[in-house]
C-alpha cells in the first residue's frame, strides 16, 4: 500500500503509509454490520458532507435543530445514515444525546451507528492528513463482496456513553484491550471491536504509540511532544471537543 504516497512531493514515513494502506483497504471490505459497498458509500458521503447545503445552513445556525431540510446525498444509504455521516463530518461539536436517540428511533441500530462513526473517523483522519500536505484525496477504495459478520461482543453493555460499550473484564475485552486499563476514547467504539483495533492502528502511526504518549524522556517523532500536544489541543478546541 506504500504506493498511495509514492508520488507525494515530500517523503511519507513508511509505517504511516502502510497504516493508511491497511485502513483504506479495510473500508472497502465487509465490516461487522455494513457491507463493503455501504462502507465505501459512507466514506463517500463523508467527503461530500462539507458541500451539502443543509449542513452548511445548520453549521451557521444558532442551533442545528432549527434548520430543516434534506441532505444533498448520493447512493443508496438511508436518510438516517446520511444524517449521521453528515452531522458527524460537519458539526461534531454540537451533537446531542437527544439527536442520537432520534437516530436510533429512526431505525438505525447502535451497532450500525458505531461502525458508521468508525468509517467516518478513518476517512476524516486520512483525508485531513492529505489536505494538510496538499495531496489529492485518495481514490475511494474498491468495495469487496461479502456479508457483514454481525458479531456483537457478548459483554457489551450500557454505560456512561450514549452507546453501549465493552468494559475491561467483560467477555471479549481482553482481546481488545489486553491487560491495559483503556481510556474512554478506546472504549467508545468497542461495540464494534474491529473499528477500535483499526482506528487505534491509525492512532499509533498518525499520533504516537501508547507507550510513547507519556514518555517525555525522548522524542518519537520529528516534532516534539509539546508541539504534538499543542497541535492536537488546538484542533480539538476548533472542533469544540472537550474530551
Amino acid at each position: 500500500m506504500r504506493e498511495f504516497y509514492a508520488a507525494a512531493p515530500i517523503p511519507i514515513r513508511d509505517d504511516l503509509a502502510a497504516a493508511h494502506g491497511r485502513a483504506w483497504a479495510r473500508i472497502g471490505k465487509p465490516g461487522t454490520w455494513w457491507t463493503g459497498e455501504a462502507r465505501v458509500a459512507i466514506a463517500d458521503e463523508t467527503r461530500r458532507a462539507p458541500s451539502c447545503a443543509l449542513c452548511r445552513a445548520r453549521k451557521e445556525a444558532l442551533s442545528p435543530a432549527a434548520v430543516a431540510g434534506a441532505h444533498d446525498r448520493i447512493g443508496e444509504l438511508s436518510a438516517a445514515v446520511v444524517e449521521v455521516v453528515h452531522r458527524v463530518a460537519t458539526d461534531p461539536g454540537r451533537l446531542a444525546e437527544r439527536w442520537f436517540r432520534d437516530i436510533l428511533a429512526a431505525g438505525l441500530m447502535a451497532e450500525e451507528y458505531v461502525e458508521a462513526i468508525g468509517v467516518v473517523a478513518h476517512t476524516v483522519a486520512i483525508d485531513t492528513f492529505a489536505r494538510g500536505l496538499g495531496l489529492d484525496p485518495l481514490p475511494l477504495p474498491q468495495s469487496r463482496p461479502g456479508s457483514p459478520s454481525r458479531r456483537r461482543p457478548v459483554g457489551a453493555k450500557a454505560g456512561p456513553a450514549w452507546v453501549p460499550w465493552l468494559e475491561p473484564g467483560e467477555a471479549g475485552a481482553g482481546e481488545l484491550y489486553g491487560t491495559s486499563r483503556p481510556p474512554n476514547i478506546m472504549k467508545a467504539m468497542s461495540l464494534v471491536p474491529d473499528e477500535v483495533a483499526s482506528f487505534f492502528d491509525l492512532v499509533a502511526h498518525q499520533y504516537q504509540p501508547a507507550a510513547a504518549m507519556r514518555d517525555f524522556s525522548r522524542e518519537y517523532r520529528a516534532i516534539s511532544h509539546a508541539q504534538i500536544e499543542l497541535l492536537a489541543a488546538r484542533v480539538s478546541a476548533l472542533n469544540r471537543c472537550l474530551y
Partner: protein
C-alpha cells in the same frame, strides 16, 4: 493535559491559552506556526493553508510537516469519535484538568453539546 505534562517534565510552562487561540503559540517551539497550521487545515481557505504549510515546513522540515499533518488529521477524527459516542471525560482527567478548563472556559463545549 499532555501539553502541560510535557512542559512539567521539561521544566517549561506552556501558556495553555494557545489552545483556544488566546496567545501566539504558547511558548512551544514554532508554536505560532503550529497553531496557524491547525487553523488552516480545518478551515476552508486554501491559500492560507498553502502559506501555513510552507511556513511550518520551513521551520520543522518535511518530516516534521508530515507528522504535523498526521496529528491534525488524527485529532480531527478522534474528536468526532468522542463527540458522536457521547463518552464522558474520565474522573481522573476531569480533576487534573479542572483548573485550566475553568480558566479557558473549555467546559462551554460540553454544555453546548449536551443541551
Amino acid at each position: 493535559m499532555l501539553l502541560r505534562a510535557s512542559g512539567l517534565t521539561q521544566a517549561r510552562a506552556y501558556d495553555l491559552a494557545a489552545v483556544i487561540g488566546g496567545v501566539e503559540g504558547g511558548g512551544a517551539p514554532h508554536g505560532r506556526l503550529l497553531v496557524e497550521f491547525a487553523e488552516a487545515v480545518l478551515g476552508e481557505d486554501d491559500a492560507r493553508l498553502a502559506r501555513a504549510r510552507a511556513d511550518l515546513g520551513a521551520a520543522v522540515g518535511s518530516a516534521g510537516l508530515v507528522d504535523a499533518a498526521a496529528v491534525a488529521g488524527l485529532f480531527n477524527a478522534i474528536d468526532r469519535v468522542a463527540d458522536a459516542t457521547g463518552i464522558p471525560l474520565e474522573e481522573q482527567k476531569a480533576q487534573a484538568s479542572a483548573d485550566f478548563r475553568a480558566a479557558l472556559s473549555l467546559d462551554r463545549f460540553a454544555v453546548a453539546a449536551r443541551e
